[in-house]
């Protein structure tokens, strides 16, 4: 079983002057997974990734890559890494930059040049390959940097906030590429605070907040265990007759009530069947009654909580 785990963190802790950035974090990334590291800003995502990459050393705990603890640099030929803040050599030509990045991973020059051309072509940057990096737009530079992380065909791709700053079209290109790499067996770990993106492409997630793990596991499992039971109800006419039922805390834990439509989180131990029976008995006319899956977004908000999410909002205001 352990052989199937590409990355394992065991009780990893990192302190910086005055505060704990990551506290006793354990997680396991299975081979071939698209693994989302989710959390508000300042949660410790980047610190975690840097520890996986062996750029910083944890104060406590162990990082195990490909079954051993030799560290990221030892396995660097098998790992591609996109740091959080973007940048390339401004005065260097696009293709030269890519060849250099591949060479730093031990790829031969000729092969690197060929692969760089292939990828530039594929991501629509072929005509820019002899231009200087500084002539490219930010989005294009980000794509170039992304190409730079995978020219050596890594088994593990670690991307820190890969979607930030990308327009919808380029974000889509990136998503497609990640999904495709995953299909060919590449394990992808990426951090984000955009839950909708994570929802679409991750099969495993780990949510962290303030340096601590909130939950982790396969997305389906996370939804089953942490999501509770949700139903969507639509009424014919008004929902007056059902009002007392929806307000009954023994049945419904939380309700998003829009008058003719409501999304309800059922209280613990309540089956949708029970609610349906009571609704029918109340005489309310139903147009729709459906069990729905909670979104990661919902789970994130519920688990991380309004209080925990606060720093992120302040961050956004400042930006």
């Amino acid at each position: 079983m352990t052989n199937d785990l590409i990355v394992t963190l065991n009780g990893v802790t990192k302190r910086f002057a005055g505060h704990v950035a990551v506290a006793n974090l354990s997680l396991a990334v299975p081979g071939g997974a698209v693994y989302g590291l989710l959390g508000p800003n300042g949660a410790g995502k980047t610190t975690t990734i840097r520890m996986i990459m062996n750029i910083i050393v944890p104060d406590e705990g162990a990082v195990i890559l490909f079954g051993d603890d030799l560290g990221g640099r030892h396995h660097s030929a098998s790992i591609g890494y996109l740091p959080e803040e973007r940048g390339l050599y401004k005065k260097m030509k696009v293709r030269d930059t890519l060849v250099f990045l591949a060479e730093a991973k031990g790829v031969g020059r000729a092969l690197a040049a060929r692969k760089a051309d292939q990828w530039l072509d594929r991501l629509g940057l072929a005509e820019w390959r002899l231009r200087k990096v500084e002539e490219l737009s930010r989005g294009m530079q980000q794509k170039v940097q992304f190409i730079g992380t995978m020219l050596h065909e890594p088994k593990l791709l670690i991307l820190d906030e890969p979607f930030s700053g990308l327009d919808p079209i380029n974000a889509q290109v990136l998503k497609d590429t990640i999904v495709e790499l995953s299909r060919t067996g590449t394990t992808v770990i990426f951090s984000t605070h955009q839950m909708d993106v994570a929802e679409k492409i991750c099969d495993h997630v780990c949510i962290i907040a303030r340096g601590r793990k909130v939950l982790d596991g396969a997305v389906s499992e996370v939804k089953r265990v942490h999501g509770g039971t949700h139903v969507a109800v639509a009424f014919e006419g008004d929902s007056e007759r059902a009002e007392s039922l929806i307000g009954d805390r023994a049945l419904v834990a939380k309700a998003d009530d829009y008058g003719v439509y409501a999304e309800l989180a059922l209280s613990d131990g309540v089956e949708p069947q029970q609610l349906l029976e009571r609704l029918v008995a109340s005489g309310a006319r139903l147009r729709r009654f459906e069990r729905i899956e909670p979104s990661l977004h919902r789970i994130f908000l519920d688990k991380v909580g309004e209080h925990q999410a606060e720093p992120e909002r302040r961050e956004a205001l400042r930006a």
């Binding site: 840097r50 640099r73 660097s76 790992i79 890494y81 973007r86 030269d96 250099f100 730093a104």
Partner: protein
């Protein structure tokens, strides 16, 4: 080592391909040619002598003697204008007006009292010209001397004979005997060697600093140090940039050699073939070249390691400007001492500074060019420099390793020490 090689290659090619490299490589020889050819050209063409007047207020034969003495060289054309005690003020005014109108370069005023007091007044447009004033003073002194001796009854012909010009011919003697080099050529060589070394070390070390800072600012360094050891990265950078320096040196040395070898053709190209024989070129032996290159290499290693630390410990260009000052001062201290070293290449100061590893890379080659350096001193100086370089590079690598991944406040000295100690 393949990864370090990729870094060396990148640093080298990206620099050699820039316009800056092309321009400075070409400008070097152009500058050299200008430096050797221009003075002879200027000397050959600057013909106009200064027109001066000797205003004579009853000084007897002195004024006439002065005018003759001054006109003897080709710098001055002097004539005497006599005046009286009453007309002196008016004469001075009119001569001043002449000078202002640029019809005259200046005038000297002598009187009967001049012989005793030894005071001569000169007013002119060219008082800032050190050479003209030196010639003028020389002429006045000669004329006064002759006039004073003559008045005491000494035969003017005898005085003239005693005054015969002397010409001190200097020649440098080394252990292998007289070299036939003049003092001026030796001085020039020492000066040029020192200056070129200073420029090269500063230029390329600062380049290393910029390169470190660029990678830190763009966070490429994170990608690189997750693929290779920080020491490999730093060493690759230092070697890559240093190779650019050596290449440029090589080109300049070849140009200098060609220039000296074909100087006849070069001078006739500028229409100054007569000057070619007069211009002295110092003989640059293999030993001189070896010492220069050896000290450049170690000096560059020493300083580029320190500049790499500066680049790794700051976040912005303006911070780098400030942080590089202490390191820069170490180099500047050497260049400030240039004149003192050249005055006494074997003196206490010179010997000490060529042993101190931070000034040795510049001072020792200067000494070597200017005078004989005992082999024992050369060996000691080089050994100390090499040992210091090893220690400094090792220390720098330790600080660099931590610094490149640190952002935020600039570290103080205590924090740098802590970084160096971190395992």
């Amino acid at each position: 080592m393949r990864k370090a090689w990729a870094v060396i290659r990148r640093e080298f090619l990206e620099r050699v391909r820039t316009k800056w490299f092309l321009i400075s490589t070409i400008l070097g020889p152009v500058f050299m040619i200008a430096l050797t050819v221009l003075p002879s050209l200027l000397a050959a063409r600057s013909g106009r002598a200064s027109d001066v007047v000797v205003l004579d207020e009853g000084s007897g034969a002195l004024a006439e003697r002065l005018a003759t003495q001054l006109s003897r060289g080709n710098r001055f054309r002097a004539r005497v204008v006599p005046t009286t005690a009453g007309g002196r003020a008016a004469a001075v005014d009119s001569l001043t007006a002449e000078v202002q109108a640029r019809r005259l370069d200046g005038f000297l005023a002598v009187s009967g009292a001049t012989l005793e007091a030894g005071i001569v007044e000169y007013r002119g447009r060219n008082v800032a010209s050190i050479r003209d004033m030196a010639l003028l003073e020389d002429g006045v002194r000669q004329a006064l001397l002759v006039e004073r001796l003559t008045r005491r009854g000494i035969d003017p012909a005898l005085v003239q004979e005693a005054q015969a010009r002397i010409d001190l011919r200097t020649s440098r003697v080394t252990r292998r005997g007289a070299t036939g080099e003049t003092g001026v050529a030796t001085f020039a060589l020492a000066y040029v060697v020192g200056f070129v070394l200073y420029m090269a070390i500063i230029l390329y070390s600062v380049n290393v600093m910029r390169s470190v800072l660029e990678e830190k600012q763009t966070r490429i360094v994170e990608v690189l140090v997750s693929s290779m050891r920080p020491f490999q990265l730093m060493l690759g950078k230092v070697i890559g940039v240093g190779s650019v320096g050596l290449l440029q040196f090589g080109i300049w040395a070849a140009a200098a050699y060609a220039m000296i070898h074909y100087r006849g053709a070069l001078f006739s190209l500028f229409g100054a073939s007569a000057a070619a024989g007069r211009v002295q070129f110092p003989a640059v032996g293999a030993a001189m070249l070896l010492v220069s290159i050896g000290y450049f290499l170690f000096g560059y290693l020493l300083y580029s390691a320190m500049f790499a630390v500066v680049g790794a410990s700051v976040n912005t260009d303006s911070e780098a400007q400030q942080a590089q000052l202490p390191v820069m001062m170490l180099l500047i201290a050497s260049i400030i001492m240039f004149p003192a070293i050249l005055n006494e290449p074997g003196g206490q100061l010179s010997v000490s500074m060529s042993l101190i590893p931070f000034s040795a890379p510049i001072i020792m080659p200067i000494r070597f060019a200017a005078a004989e350096v005992p082999a024992r001193e050369l060996a000691a100086s080089f050994a100390i420099l090499a040992a210091t370089t090893v220690v400094v590079v090792w220390l720098s690598a330790r600080i660099y390793r931590v610094g490149i991944l640190m952002y935020g406040k600039r570290p103080n000295l205590r924090e740098l020490v802590r970084w160096a100690r971190q395992s």
